[in-house]
Symmetry: C2
Subunit: 96 residues, 2 copies
């Protein structure tokens, strides 16, 4: 079962998630990634897509050329869950 | 050399581009695509990414699960060019 994180849990999680911030007016987190070019950006997106599909937990994302804006939230709990933390952690790891 | 399309050329092009519309306050075109699921949406995005990279002409796009919002414009001409028409035509073709 997916459980909604408390404000304290979100705060603690963000301390370990470099670059991720909360979204104004919505219980979600976001991060802007920048790559060398589109090729690198889309390669990153592809790795995230495979992970997301495996988790059955998908990002909201906007890409233009080398820039990628990602928002994560868990609709089932109308907020954030450990799935968002897991996906954000994965993105940070592979963005290296 | 990339040439900026005239208003008449844009109008004519849109007649053949099902679902594409102009963007308010900006010389660009956009379309919203809907797929069965994330897998199908990202498969489509991957085909478009390969085409875009080959053309060296990239979309602005927002995806969440099975939905994809695409905006096309040509920065070099500060408007629309034949590259946008070509990429939009390609997307319509493979979206089937």
């Amino acid at each position: 079962m997916t459980v909604r994180l408390s404000a304290k849990e979100i705060e603690d999680a963000l301390l370990k998630l470099d670059g991720w911030v909360t979204v104004d007016g919505r219980e979600a987190i976001q991060k802007s990634f920048k790559f060398a070019n589109f090729n690198q950006a889309f390669a990153f997106m592809t790795r995230v897509a495979l992970k997301a599909e495996k988790m059955d937990h998908h990002p909201e994302w906007f890409n233009v050329y080398n820039r990628l804006e990602v928002t994560l939230a868990t609709h089932d709990v109308n907020g954030l869950s450990s799935k968002d933390v897991e996906l954000a952690t994965f993105m940070n790891k592979i963005a290296g």
